[in-house]
Structure formats: C-alpha cells, structure tokens
C-alpha cells in the first residue's frame, strides 16, 4: 500500500477536508480446493462431477461430501449436453476477460446430474427455455479455468 497523491479538497464553504489517494495491489493465491478435478477436467475437454457412493445422489457443482451421508463422493464423467432453463444477453464485460461483450448467458440443466450451471452460450442469439445445448471446449487462452468450456446450441437432434 502506498500513498500516491495528497491534496486538500475544498468541498464547500463549510469544509476544508483533505483527501489521500492510496494505491493497493492485492495478489491472491486461491486454491480451487476439492473442486480442482472439475477444473482440470475442463482443460482436458471433459465435464465431470461427483456422486455419493452410498445413496447415489449426484451433485453439481461437485461436492466432496454427500450432505446426507457425510461420505466422500466419487467422480464421474458427464455427457456435456443440457437444456436451457433461461438465457439473456449481457452487455457488460466479464471481470476476468477471456471473451468479449455482448455475450449470451444462460442457466443450463446438465444431463446426467441433478444440477445446473450458469454459463456462456456461443453465438449472437438468445435461446429459449428448452433449447438443447452441448459443451464445447476452448483453447488455453482463457483467464479463468471455468471459461475453458462454453455451450453451443444443438441445431437438430
């Protein structure tokens, strides 16, 4: 943290307060924790999540422990297909970059698991609820591992 400027600010007749300008850069080392295999899977073109070994409940996002049985879950692969619940067009830039605004954002119910993901749907359109989509994997230029997947509308099935 350092002070980069210091100036008295004449706000109005009643006040003669001063302000300081601070500059503070924060570098975090952030582990992805027990969800790491999911993000590693995206780098390898695989969408995976976890299921409970006792009750077979499935989870997305992946959970390390089944909340009912408190047992370690096991990883399995998802087919990568899904169904749009709702989607919209977003014009603000994403904070980590990696793609340009505007973009289409949707909540997608994933096949093979009782869960959904909020993610990007490629193209200029806004698919309606019920539209079938499939995961597509993107090269290594992305800023955040979550962005190595996106979804494409499946034209015909």
């Amino acid at each position: 943290m350092r002070i980069v400027a210091q100036e008295p600010v004449k706000h109005d007749e009643l006040s003669n307060a001063s302000s300081l300008q601070y500059e503070m850069t924060l570098a975090y080392s952030r582990t992805l924790g027990s969800a790491s295999p999911f993000f590693e899977g995206l780098a390898g073109g695989v969408l995976r999540t976890t299921r409970c070994t006792r009750c077979s409940r499935t989870f997305f996002p992946p959970r390390r422990l089944c909340p009912d049985d408190h047992l370690e879950t096991t990883w399995y692969e998802l087919p990568g297909s899904g169904t749009v619940r709702v989607a919209t067009r977003v014009y603000g830039a994403a904070p980590f970059g990696g793609f340009e605004a505007p973009y289409t954002l949707g909540i997608i119910a994933l096949d093979g698991v009782d869960g959904a993901i909020t993610h990007r749907i490629l193209g200029d359109g806004v698919p309606e609820a019920g539209t079938r989509v499939a995961a597509t994997f993107i090269g290594d230029e992305q800023m955040h591992p979550l962005l190595r997947v996106a979804f494409e509308v499946r034209s015909a099935l």
Partner: protein
C-alpha cells in the same frame, strides 16, 4: 406496557455520490448522535452497540465497529458487527431486536454506513461487487450483478408476460419520490421512454433500471418501553413506534442451484415475509400494510418483491406497478424515500435508512411533500445477492 422494542431514535446523513467533507466514521457518528438526540437520551444508558457494514474493500479497513463505538461513547459495552450483503442493515436491526427480546439488553444502538460512492473508481467498484457472486462458479461469467438479476427478470417476463415498460414505471416513480427527500442521492424527473432508451446492461435491464452507489450512514436506537420511560426525554411526546416483527430466510446463492419452478421469484423473501408477518400478527399484507420500503436494487426487483411480499397476486406485479397502487396516492405506497433507485444505497446504512423512512412516516414527521397520511403499519424489505439472504422488518405506530 408493550413487550416489544420501541424505535426511540432515528438519524441519518444524506446519501450522496461522494462525500468529500466527511469520512465514514464522521458520517456514522453524525447519524448516531442524531439518533440519540432524537431519543433525548445519552449513550451512557445504552447497553450494546451493533455495527452495520458490508465491505472491507470499499471502506479500506477491517473492524470499523470498535472505531465507531469509541467515537460515540460506547466503549466498554458489548459490540457486534453484522454483515449480510444488501440485507446488512436490516439484519443489524434484527440482531438488536433479538438482544432486547432475549432480555440481554434494554437499549441497543444500531449504527452503520458505507462508502459505496466514489471511494474507488467505477471499474474497481464493479469488480468488488462482482465478488458477491461465487468467485469460482459465477463471477468469471458476470460482467456485473445486472446479469443474474436479468436472468430472473427474463424468466418473470416468460412466465407472466411482464414487460420492460411496466418495470420502467418503478424507475420513474422512485426517482420522482427522491426529489421530495432531502436525504436522497439523486431524484430525477424522467419518463418511461427515458428508461427504455437508456443503455442496455443485461437484457431486459438498462442503465436507468439500476440503483445508485452512495456514501452515507444511518443509526437507530431501540429500547424497551421501561427504558424509554426512564431515559428518553422525547418518549411520549409523539407517536410511539413498535418494532413488531422481524423475519429472515436464505436461498441458494447461485441461481443455477435454485428450484427452476421459482426462478422468477425471491423464494426466501416470501419465507422472510411470512415469518415477519406472523410475528407481527399480519394476516392480509395487501390490506393491512400502509407503507413499505422495498429493495429496488433493480426496477424489476421491486416488481418481484410486490409479489413475494404478498402485496399483489403472483405474476401481477407488472400490471400492479402501472396501475398506481404503489404510488403516493395508491393503497400501498412503496419507496416514498426514493428507494435504492433514487435515495441511493450505502449498503451498511440502507436497511437502517429504510426503517428510518418508515418510522418517520408512522410518526408523521417526514413533511407534507412525501407524507403518506394515516400510515400505521409499515415494513422494510432487503436482500443480499439475488435474494440469498432476505430480511423483512415490521413497524407499527403504537398509539
């Protein structure tokens, strides 16, 4: 004597875009001193403090509670900081209420504020606020909080045929009401057309559908009636206001985890309202409640709140917004302070400022320009994120 806590003192600073003559502690002290003066009481007789603020990032400090506590003469007393996103101020009031109801304290001062205005530049503010979403699973995809709110409203439009011009009415109404509130950040005279032609952020939301980031502080003194008789010189000189009910509830913070049947709604808001109404003995919110301050972080969120708070039938919020029932002359005026869209939002102060507006209205003290005549029962509504924590408070004029 009532067993319920009374609101004995209220105080707040104006909400502004960037307060240059005062820092956050100055503002919180101003609000707290006003609240004590309003009560005609001294902090020596207060049993406990509750500090209310959301973000260490905006305020560039951690543990501000003891600093404020010290500056208003409460050092030595118990103090707790409350944080619950957008619901922070409302939850701080609930914490104080619980302490009094439990008999642990007879008088509690709640004080809070935030420098959401221009303490950091707008891009940094957006980056900090985006941290309110799940950093591993959502934030990389959200340009701003407009995105998840927009997904919810898109679903509301699909389910019920709600239209952007309907929720634009809320953006117009709240900015208009802010013109009559000297504490407001930015009142404006705008038209539905102005809203509908402003820049799109995330469809269907546009720039004028979004609320303000403000600097500001607010404080409320709560106490038992017994304490009021002993220590509050203003008690009995004006209508007394009871803190009749408090309810809170939580939802899955990530939209994708929620029951898809209720994506258009703040489900936890319904639960929080039900709890608060039950505590306050409200059976028909639509006919019993006279005035409400509602969490209009986005114009459409107010429309959704009408439904989830039981002010109109599910799915009818859009048409209700247009028919005028929530305007000043309507049956249930909403956000006569100007709301987050017009009065603005300094997060740690917002829920407290809502209570101050309602209490002021119930006392008949807000002035003719925005008074809702004869109001006896009012509520406040706030939430964090896109409804992850919801908190509803109920206030009633006792006499």
């Amino acid at each position: 004597m009532t067993a319920l806590p009374l609101i004995l003192g209220i105080g707040m600073t104006p909400f502004t875009g960037h307060r240059l003559d005062s820092n956050l502690t100055d503002m919180v002290v101003d609000a707290a001193v006003q609240a004590m003066r309003d009560a005609g009481a001294t902090t020596a007789h207060v049993d406990m403090g509750v500090a209310s603020y959301e973000s260490d990032h905006f305020n560039q400090s951690m543990s501000l509670g003891p600093v404020w506590n010290e500056a208003i003469g409460l050092t030595g007393k118990p103090l707790v900081r409350v944080e619950g996103g957008g619901a922070t101020g409302a939850l701080a009031l609930q914490t104080a209420r619980t302490a009094i109801m439990a008999g642990e304290a007879r008088a509690v001062l709640v004080f809070g504020g935030e420098t959401n205005g221009r303490s950091v530049d707008r891009a940094t503010a957006t980056e900090i606020l985006a941290l309110s979403a799940d950093l591993d699973w959502e934030t990389p995809l959200f340009g701003s909080f407009a995105a998840p709110y927009a997904l919810m409203m898109t679903e509301h439009m699909r389910c019920y045929g709600t239209t952007p011009d309907q929720f634009a009415h809320v953006a117009v109404k709240n900015r208009r009401e802010a013109l009559a509130n000297p504490m407001a950040h930015k009142g404006m005279t705008i038209s539905v057309d102005d809203v509908l032609t402003s820049k799109v952020l995330a469809a269907p939301y546009r720039l004028l559908d979004t609320s303000l980031l403000s600097d500001g502080a607010a404080a409320v003194l709560l106490a038992t009636e017994e304490w009021a008789v002993e220590h509050s010189t203003t008690y009995g000189q004006r209508p007394s206001v009871e803190y009749s009910g408090a309810g809170s509830a939580t939802d899955y913070p990530r939209l994708a985890d929620r029951d898809p049947r209720f994506l258009a709604h703040f489900s936890a808001k319904r639960t929080a309202a039900r709890r608060a109404y039950k505590m306050a003995g409200i059976t028909n919110p639509m006919s019993e409640i006279d005035i409400a301050e509602v969490y209009d972080s986005f114009s459409g969120a107010e429309v959704q709140a009408y439904e989830d708070l039981g002010f109109c039938d599910i799915g009818s919020g859009g048409t209700a917004a247009v028919d005028g029932r929530f305007d000043r002359e309507g049956s249930l005026p909403v956000n006569m302070s100007g709301g987050l869209l017009g009065r603005g939002s300094a997060v740690g102060a917002t829920g407290i400022a809502q209570a101050i507006e309602v209490v002021g209205q119930l006392r008949g003290e807000v002035g003719a320009a925005r008074e809702v005549r004869g109001a006896r029962l009012g509520i406040t509504d706030t939430h964090s994120g896109v409804g992850a924590i919801c908190a509803v408070n109920v206030f009633r004029r006792a006499a």
